[in-house]
């Protein structure tokens, strides 16, 4: 039924003149293109995750050796700004980094702090674009007395 209708639409001797190859090429090309885009998108995400991880770690290290939370936030801010700048965060309207002392503790030696950094990544595939974040928990090493 379907093949009869298809043969009516297609020119005569379509299959004998290599039409099958053209048809399969037409079907396969978008798939291959999509896969190439997916590979590039995963590379973009991988790269940004790596950078975010390193930034979170560096910012966290800078924070935990600070005397106070304020000093720690300044250091995290400086680390983030050097790594990513603030333009992206302003453009897409997200909080670029957070420094949270866990368990409601004060900024003191022995308490845990969670350092989270974020970045909006626009990848080749729209459904993988978005704000990515990485966080790391460290122990405060140089808190207030």
């Amino acid at each position: 039924m379907f093949s009869e209708k298809l043969n009516q639409i297609l020119p005569q001797n379509f299959w004998k003149k290599g039409g099958g190859e053209i048809l399969s090429f037409v079907i396969v090309v978008p798939c291959i293109l999509f896969m190439v885009c997916a590979i590039i998108a995963s590379a973009q995400i991988g790269y940004i995750n790596q950078t975010l991880n390193f930034c979170a770690y560096n910012a966290g290290r800078a924070a935990v050796i600070s005397d106070s939370k304020r000093a720690a936030e300044n250091r995290v801010n400086a680390t983030y700004e050097t790594q990513f700048g603030m333009q992206n965060a302003r453009k897409y309207g997200y909080i670029p980094f957070e420094l949270e002392v866990l368990d409601g503790d004060d900024w003191e030696k022995g308490a845990f702090v969670k350092c989270t950094v974020r970045y909006y990544i626009k990848t080749l595939t729209p459904f993988t674009s978005g704000v990515r974040e990485q966080s790391i928990v460290m122990m405060i090493e140089n808190g207030d007395v």
Binding site: G20, S24, V28, A43, N53, V137, M138, M139
Partner: protein, 340 residues
């Protein structure tokens, strides 16, 4: 399905169709492979960072006034580990091990450091890992090793009559008895010594310094800390009061007393009572900071090393003959910090 089967069994174009399907399959497999590689790479790095965080926290948390407490260190490591793996995807298998042992150097003599080794393993949960569920080869593994100072208020005093001993005699005696020696002829070593007491946790990657060595020390934040300390000290006016709380800060409940004048007898008495003594010598004539001097008779420092430091602003060219009385020669303002 019937139509597809018919098409595949037909003579015209079936080979091309097979080839197309094979290419499609290959492309799909390559995507899975590439994505898995990225996932594995990302998790590898994540494991390393978590591992470093655990080791750093364990090294600092274990420091207590009584020395290095392995159990506190391990508990902190566990806390840091647990809090970090929460951020990983659910279903991710993780595990860690921590090993703490004394560092030994020079014929089995303890160096005053603990060696903390942390291993972290994360099953990456990558696409490929799902195909090989039990393959440990696809786990992301990381190792971190840090050195943590053992700081204790219990100082082991040697029965040496240091006050009557020249520095070179002291040196030789320490060397003969197999103790590692810190030499602070270079300002960089002074930072090491003062920070050994004030910031024990921050020196964990330092090696013991050879008596004649002048190796550069890295760790920028450590040096910055020291420089910021120097900046706030106005030597012309003496040590400002505000500096005292900063000494208190990291000294585990100890406090510092400073003196503008140098009284060897008093310092010796403090040393004999078990108080580590550091003498800071400022050369007023040259308007330059000179050196720290750790009174040799104090014996083993809290970090387990013997520290020897002396200044070249004493009027003597031969360090070997340096005596305590040389320090109080009118050119040096001497600040002594006695840690109680």
């Amino acid at each position: 399905m019937c139509k597809v089967r018919k098409l595949l069994s037909s003579k015209e174009g079936s080979g091309t169709l097979y080839l197309g399907l094979a290419v499609l399959g290959l492309a799909f497999a390559s995507v899975v492979f590439c994505v898995s590689l990225y996932q594995l790479y990302t998790y590898d790095m994540r494991a390393q960072l978590i591992c470093d965080s655990i080791a750093d926290a364990a090294a600092v948390a274990g420091q207590t006034p009584e020395g290095f407490d392995d159990s506190i260190s391990k508990q902190t490591a566990k806390d840091v580990y647990n809090r970090n793996i929460v951020s990983l995807k659910s279903g991710t298998r993780t595990q860690y091990t921590i090993n703490i042992q004394d560092e030994k150097l020079y014929n089995g003599v303890k160096t005053g450091y603990k060696i903390i080794t942390v291993h972290v393993s994360i099953n990456s949960n990558a696409l490929m890992a799902k195909l090989f569920k039990n393959s440990e080869r696809l786990d992301s593994k990381a190792t971190a090793v840090v050195r943590a100072k053992i700081v204790t208020s219990e100082v082991h005093w040697m029965n040496w009559t240091g006050y009557n001993m020249t520095i070179s005699q002291f040196y030789r005696k320490a060397n003969d008895e197999g103790y590692p020696i810190l030499d602070s002829r270079s300002p960089i070593y002074l930072k090491y010594i003062i920070n050994s007491i004030l910031h024990p946790s921050k020196n964990q990657t330092y090696d013991l310094l050879s008596p004649t060595g002048y190796e550069p020390i890295e760790e920028a934040y450590f040096i910055n800390d020291y420089l910021s300390f120097l900046k706030v000290v106005d030597f012309e006016k003496g040590m400002p009061e505000k500096i005292v709380p900063e000494f208190v800060l990291d000294n585990y409940g100890a406090y510092a007393v400073w003196r503008r004048s140098f009284d060897p007898v008093e310092l010796q008495a403090a040393a004999n009572e078990g108080k580590p003594v550091i003498v800071y010598i400022y050369n007023a004539e040259d308007d330059a900071y000179a050196s720290y001097m750790v009174i040799p008779c104090q014996g083993i420092m809290p970090n387990g090393c013997i520290a020897v430091a002396y200044t070249n602003y004493t009027g003597r060219s031969n360090y070997d003959e340096l005596q305590w009385s040389d320090l109080d020669n009118g050119h040096n303002l001497v600040y002594a910090f006695i840690y109680h």
